[in-house]
Each structure stands twice: as C-alpha cells, then as structure tokens.
Assembly symmetry: C3
C-alpha cells in the first residue's frame, strides 16, 4: 500500500495540473469555499507528504517557526494531529490557553492574535461549541493577522487552519474522504456510491453539528448518493444543506434526507452513524451561555437528554449493517464513539460492529495529520509541486 | 523598512566595535548592570536577527538544546516572546510549572535548577509579584546553575534571562527603547526628546512597578528628558530613581519627577501612561502573603483600590494628547492596557487615543522576541559578530 | 573527566561487540527482562551520547518525529530528563494529559495509543502509584501500537520507555548504576562492593516501591554485595526479591535482607536510604481507589503514617555514615529527599550528610537523560555502533 518514489513523482505531476494559486497566503475555513482543484490539491499534497514519510524522506520545509494552537474545547486527537503536522513540516507548536478570555471583546482578540504571531507561520483553532461563534472568532483572528501582516507588524502571514468550528470540520471531513478514496481505490470510483450520514443515539449531550455538516458539504462533490437521516428536530444548518444540494447537482450525484436509519442504511456503501445536538438546541444554548443563564442551561441539557432518549433505537446494529451493500458497508466515525456495552450502556453502535472496523477506523484517523500538513503547505508555497519535487530529489532522511 | 543584506553586513560591522566580552556565559538581570556597549550590542544583535529573518535567513545556531521557562505569574505575550526567541535560535521550550513550590526553600531551588538544566542553554524567569522576592529567586537559580557548571554537573552554563522581576523588566524596556530608536530614526536623534512615564488609573490592583522602573532606569541613558509623574504615595523604588538620576547626569539628559500628568505630558515627544501599585503597598502585600495573613490581604486590596479610585482623572485623554509635542507624541504601553469604554468603564487611556496607536503599539511589542534572542545570543557566543556574519554568509533559508 | 573523540571511538568499538539485536523495535519495561549485553549496551550508548555532547557533536538522528509523554503521577525531574533525551535525538515532546481517563477501559487505551502515535517514535510513561496497574497499562499501550504498526496503521513502531511503573524504575536504577560505575572507575571494580538499600523514615506516605525494587533487581547483576533493610512489614514485592537472589547467584555476588540500618550500613561502600510504602498497604490502596472507597483511603493513609512514625530512627545520620567503609560510603538518592531540619522536621537523612553529597547526587541525576536517550537509540537503530560512528565522523556541531 505504501507509495514508492515513482508513485510520488507521478502524484507531483498530477498536482502540477491543479490551480492552487488562490490558496497561497490564504486560510482554510470551509471546504465549500475551496474550488474542486483546491480540494483535489489538499488530497494530493497529503498523499505526497505521506509518501515522503513512508520513504523516510524529510518534509521539513521550515527551519524554524511556530504553529499556534488554540483549543477552545477539549481535544486529544485533533491536538496530536495538529502537533504531528507542524512537526512534520518543521514548526514548533505553542499552545495558547485562552479559556479565560473566551468571551473576549473583538479588539482584544485582535491584539492577542498579533502578540502571539510575531514568529507564527500557522494558527490552528478549534472552537465548535457555540453556534454563530466559532467561525466568527476564527475570522476575527485571521483578519487580525492579515491586517498585521499588511501593516508590516508581522513579518509573515500566519495561515489559519480551521480545526473545527460551529459550521464545518474540514480536517475531519477531508481525512474521512481521503480514507474513502483510498478504500475504494480512487476518486473515480466514488460516483454513485451511497453514503448514509445518520444521527445515532448517545447518552451525552451537545455534540457539535460540524461533523455531519462537514460530511454532507464535502461528500456531495464527488457524484455520490449522499443520504442524511435524523429524528425529527435534529436538523442541521439549512445553509449547509443548500450547499450540499447544489454540490450534488453539480457533481452528478444526489443529496437526500430520509427519516429513518433503515432507509439510509439500505444498500449503502458507507455508513457514518453519529450523534449530534439539534441546531435549535445549540442556538438556545449559545444564547443562554452568552447571557449567563446557567440554571436554564441545566434545564436545557436535561430536556435535550430526555429528547435524545426517545431515539435509542437509532443505533448501528449488526442487523442494520446486514441491510447495507452486500452487508459490508464501510463503517466510519470521527471517534471517540459511544459503543453499546463497552463505553456506555446504550450508544451509537454495537460493540461487535465497532470492533470489526477497528483497523479502518484507525486508518481513517491517520489521514488527519497529513490533511492538516497539506493545508499548511499549500498556503505557504506558491509553487507546491516544485517544492515537493525538490524534497523528493534532496531525499534528506527523516531518520538518519 | 525591512533591512537588506548590505544593511545587515553594516550592522555586524558596528557590533564588532562593541565590547561584549563580559556578556559571554553571563546572565541578564537589570539593564543598569550592563555597560553602554552591552546595551548597544543587545539592540544591534536584535536588529541583525530581525534582518536575517526578514531576509529568510536561518538564525538557528543551536542544533538541539532546551530553553526553560518559569512563569511565576500569568503571561501570554512574554511567554510567546520567549518561545519565539528560543525557536528562532533552535532551542526547544520546556515550561517548569512550579507554582506549588512558590515559597520553596533556597536549597530546593538550587536542586530543581540543576535537575532541569542538564541540557538547558537558557532559563527565562518571570517573577514580578513580590517585592524583594523576584530578583532574589532569579539570583538563586543563576548561582545554582553557575555552581553546577563549575562543579562539572552541567555540561553547559545556562544563561538566565530576566523576563520581569520585582525591580526591572529589561526585555520590555529594551523592546520599548528599540521601538523608540526606530521610530525616531536612530539613537542619535533621542537627545533632548521628552518622555513622560506617568501613572494612570486602572480598576485593577497590584500591577508591578518593574515597568516604570525599567523605563526610567534605561531611557535616562540616552540623553533624553525623562519625566516621571504619579499621584502622592505611588512612588517607585528609591534605588532605581537614584540610578535614573545618575544615568541622566552621565548621558547629558535629565530625570525629573512632577506631580501631574498635565505637567508631564506638556510638549512630550513620547508618553507612557500606565498603572502600578505603590511600592509601600507591594511591600505590605509581600509581607502579608509571606505570613499567610490572607484576610488582611483582602483588606489591603480593598484599601488600595479605594485609593486608586481617587485618581481616576489620571487618564490619557485626547485633550492631554493635544498638549504634547505638536499634539502627536508617540503613545506607548506594554499591553494589555485598560482602555476606557472598551475593556473597562474608566481606565488608563481613551479608546480613541489607543485605537489611533494600534500599529505602533503592536510594532513596539514585536521587538521583544528579538531582544530576548539577542540576550541569549550574546551570552552564548564569545565573538557574536563573526557568528552572525557566518549566518549571513551561509544564508540557510528559514523557509525552504 | 569529559571524554575526547578517541574515548568515544573506543567505546563505539566496545558497543560493537555487544548483541543488541533483540532491542531493535522493542520496548524497555524492566531491567531484568534485558540480557547482560543489552544492559551493558544501554550504559555504553549513554556514555557515547554524553561524550558526543561534551564534544559539541550533534546526536540529532531524527529530523522530525514526536516523543509522547504520559505522566500519570506528578514529575519534574523525569519529565525534564525525558524532554532532554528526546530533544537530544531530535524528537519533539508532546504531553498527553489523560488523568481524566485514568480508569479508562482497555479498548479506549488502545484507541488513544494509536490516535496519538501517527508520528510518534517513542512513548514514555510514568504510572507508579497503583500496584498491579502501572506495568499493565504500559503493556496495553505497547501492545496497541505494536499491533497498529503491524496492521499498517502506524508508519513506524513507537518504542515504549518505562519512566517508572509499579514494579521497576529502570531509567532511575540504570542512571544510578552508571553513576556508580563512573564513581568506582569501571564496572570491573564493582565486584564485592557492598550497597545498602535501606528504608528510611519520611513524614509522607505512599512512596512507590519501584526504586528499591529497581535497585535490588539491577545491582545484583554486578557481583555486588546487595543488602536490603527495612522495618517489619515494609517488604517489597517477592517476585523482585527472587529475581535479585537469582541475579546475585549468577553474578557471583550476594543478596541479603537484614533488619536494621546499622547492619546494612556496616562497612558499606554505597548507601541508598529511602522511604517507601509497604507493599501490602499499596495493594490495599489500589483496591480502595479502584472501588472508590475514599473514606477508607484516608483511614489507610492515617494508619500508614502512624506506622511509619514508629520508625523515625531509620534515618541516615552522621553516626551511621561513620560506620560505613572508611566512613566514606557513597550516599545515593533518587531525589527529592526528605532532609531532617531542612525540608522536614524528621526525615530520611541528616542535613549535614545530604549537603556533603550534593555534587555526587546531582551527578547521579545527570545520567538519566542519557539513559533514556540510549534506550530510545537502541530501539531505533539495528546497527547502533555504525550509526554512532557516523555521528562522530560527521561531527555536526550542536552549537554552531
């Protein structure tokens, strides 16, 4: 499965054909803001970087420089993916712990963004908990450092990488898609494949919507039959659904909403059952937090959990899996999953299903560091294919 | 504004003329313990390192090695400045979180200092909250590792960089001064320029004195007209005032104390309005904390805030700014500032004044990483100009 | 004392003669699981790496890569030793703070281990507080990443280094032994030397047993006269005692247990007086914690401290030191020690004794970063002597 140098050379050639000019010195917010060439380039660069590493070739393009991480929500896997990506390219991670200034005024954000960025080449932010907040915060940071760069305060323009906002989770959805591309042996094999992105029951509350939104916003670009299923009231953002529909139309695929897991799973090639909170609940929550109405917040949580509990039958069972294409759909999850009988009494998926897919699930996750590294790479080099070719030619060993 | 290679070459030549021998394998505690040549060398090396980076030339002189940071008080901008400086030179930051051993016995400090320093090339410490403690602690650490080096326990002598103590804040005052030098187009243009270092009202309590002390202790060395103003009872340390007076005499400038912002601001070229706690309050506070008398501490805070509130008219208004030289004095602050109507109801400065100076303020802060890197550099290389020349000649790219 | 290049060359030659094949792509759990050649190789590589650094020669064999640290117990010196070792070899430390998942299910451990290891070359773990837990946890992590590597999920196999478990503390005992080897001028001089590993009183409770176990499990391999002494009820694990006895038999030394410090110290060449909790108490504690019986835990602590207090005369006094070989036994401790009259009222050792041995104690600790680096090195290179020789030949400076 590992690529050899000839494969890498070929992929660099393919990258050359893609127009990535607009990515240079730019940020990565949502996949749907990127052109098809740009999306393809991220996949290509990710695969090339992986190929280089597999061949023990250094991809350290930075001699020094910082990668700033801001996690406004707990994170282990995204934290390590970002750290791995930065390290691969030669950047040192410095974490900015600014929980205390969560509700900080815009002007303060601008100041802090500049203060930490004098030697920063990239800023990775995760801020996914509050509807209408995460993306706005990221935009404020990105605008601040862009202005700082233009005003001559920053000697370089730090690139912002969205490590999950309230709207999209592009490093997740793109790692997921690269996994799918590899699993099915190429992007050309995805046309007509059915993916079921479905809600699933979880005993926890308030899981972000950006994963299902990221999936329907990206997977609809590849001619696939994308089906979203959730109980009544668990709608995702309408804007993203519109994007998904438009994508599907353009790519020759389809986007549909159905009202049961059964219908979604039927003959699916891929299933992605995962819990999320209803958009309306997340909106109310954001409002209550913003106004400091914490008593009502507890009440909201209670109501939300009670409502969730009505849909415990939305769970990925062996029986459901049997109804998928040849009973062998690819099971996907962003992890960690709520596994019935293992991590909780009743959850998103049967233990036996989950266990059978451990290797593919870990493989799925393994693409994330490379996706992040590719996003950084494409923002930093005007001619990425030449730069990658010179890394391949130089062939400096990662381990001596 | 960015330097080209010829500028860098010229600056290296100027550095060569300065005597920096005593800085080699030494520490940086207070600016007034350094000779004029040594102070000039820090500025020169800082500018050269900045020039190299602007020209995408690596200044990574360390292949491996640690930079230990000890922050005994919260910090964002100094933390990132230190991290940036270490990264620029090739050192990896390791933070020692020893809040728990705050009141640790001297012997324990000695032990810990050695234990963390086996591969440490620099130790940066911020300990500014307790009068008579911060500097003492730093000295204990520096003596410990110096002894460890002499006894053959440490293979290298870690350099101590004072990231703010109870007496001086040299990385701040020197970044401030380098900003001023650049702003006025050269150190030769500073003679006779008036700077107003004044107290200003803040709704918070117990801000360290090391900033105003650092400013009057350093700026008086450049033939400037340095004016300190504060309400009655807000005196800074007498020792530092004596140093300021002696500096002024030697440099052909002046050091004066006046009793109003109005008098200080009149025709000033530079204004630096900033809050601090009275020395006597800080002394009492240190005593109470040391003796665990926390109830009285709360009372002290209350009294101090009440006293502060008597001087709410000590604030940098548009009206005051108009009285400065041509109404256009350079406004300075170490950040974050308490901005009236933005970050607080009544604070150190009007929002409109602050907003007008955003770019210069950020620029001011941008010198700190380079000042810190210069301090490290001068402690590590016996012949700094040759080393910098070889970096320039080698011209290894920071970004490939 | 520092080695020159000829010394290093000679040591590389000696390393060549040792069989280290089994260490390649393997983990380091307990010293007694390693062959004599393997133990000797760790010492040799540690000394060579130290020699390289003393000669300002870079040992950076990794161009990029992460070193994951997991500290399930507080740590300063081991944390910095691990960070130093990783940095020396070119790995960047990323700390995984998973206190929250302390009692996590095995499957979760497996998942997390893989998720953080996509670009990890080494995982260092400290988990020493719970009998029967620490080693088990490490083994679960090591098995998980080994499986991940075999399944093609991880591109490299992260090596696990035991930074202290409930059974052994190999980086401590090996640093201690390398100190002893240097102190006595060579491993060949250790035959017949008497070491007293004794319990000592401390006002704190629940210190791990892995230090005394590590010492008797390792020092018995060198033909030494190893004597363990502790009050009744403070037994260490029987399994480790059996290993010590077998080691002693094989190496031509001896392993004995005596019931007083006096008997142990008599004519000893080395003394290692140190507190630990009784094995039975640690077992009960693990049980109570596991079952969430925290009230009983407090009671256990109280009883344990009361019992400790019966043995306050188990302390390393000047009088006792006089009874050792020529009154000049080498005093050892893993630090920090409980020093009578300095860090506590009554503790493990007299202040005057401790103070006299400061330099040797710090020297003892200074070997740990190199021991850890050697363990990593031997797991990563199939032909370590060739790799070290090429580092010596290349002679890339650590500081330019």
């Amino acid at each position: 499965m590992a690529k050899d140098k000839a494969d890498i050379k070929r992929m660099i050639g393919e990258l050359k054909a893609l127009d990535t000019d607009r990515m240079y010195l730019n940020d990565f917010f949502h996949t749907w803001k990127e052109s098809d060439d740009e999306i393809a380039a991220v996949f290509k660069v990710a695969e090339i970087l992986r190929g280089l590493r597999e061949n023990n070739i250094s991809a350290k393009v930075f001699d020094s420089g910082l990668g700033i991480s801001i996690f406004r929500d707990n994170s282990t896997r995204t934290r390590f993916s970002f750290a791995s990506a930065c390290n691969l390219l030669g950047l040192e991670v410095q974490d900015l712990d600014e929980k205390v200034s969560q509700i900080a005024h815009g002007e303060t954000v601008r100041e802090t963004a500049n203060m930490v960025s004098f030697m920063a080449d990239v800023i990775g932010i995760r801020d996914d908990m509050y509807i209408g907040k995460g993306h706005t915060y990221m935009k404020t940071v990105a605008d601040a450092v862009d202005q700082g760069y233009k005003d001559g305060i920053l000697e370089q323009r730090p690139t912002l990488v969205n490590l999950q906002c309230d709207i999209d989770h592009p490093t997740q959805s793109m790692a997921d898609m690269l996994h799918v591309i590899n699993y099915f042996g190429g992007v050309e094999n995805l046309k007509g494949k059915k993916i079921a992105m479905t809600w699933a029951y979880s005993p926890s509350y308030g899981k972000p919507l950006s994963v299902p939104q990221g999936i329907i916003g990206l997977f609809t670009r590849f001619g696939m039959d994308v089906v979203l299923a959730h109980p009544e009231g668990y709608d995702v953002m309408g804007d993203v659904e519109e994007i998904a529909a438009a994508n599907a139309k353009k790519s020759g695929g389809s986007y549909r909403k159905v009202s049961s897991m059964e219908e979604a799973f039927k003959d699916a090639d891929i299933v992605y059952p995962k819990s999320w909170a209803p958009f309306a609940v997340m909106e109310e929550r954001t409002k209550l937090v913003g106004e400091g109405r914490f008593d009502e917040l507890k009440d909201l949580e209670k109501r939300c959990l009670e409502n969730n509990a009505k849909f415990k039958d939305w769970t990925c069972t062996e029986e459901l899996m049997k109804t998928t294409k040849d009973g062998k759909a690819l099971y996907m999850h962003c992890l960690p999953a709520d596994i019935t009988g293992l991590s909780c009494k009743e959850g998103e998926v049967d233990e036996s299903v989950f266990s059978r897919y451990l290797d593919p699930l870990y493989k799925e996750a393994s693409f994330k560091p490379y996706i992040i590294a590719a996003m950084i790479f494409l923002a930093k080099f005007k001619d990425p294919s030449s730069k990658l070719q010179s890394l391949l030619d130089e062939a400096k060993p990662r381990i001596k």
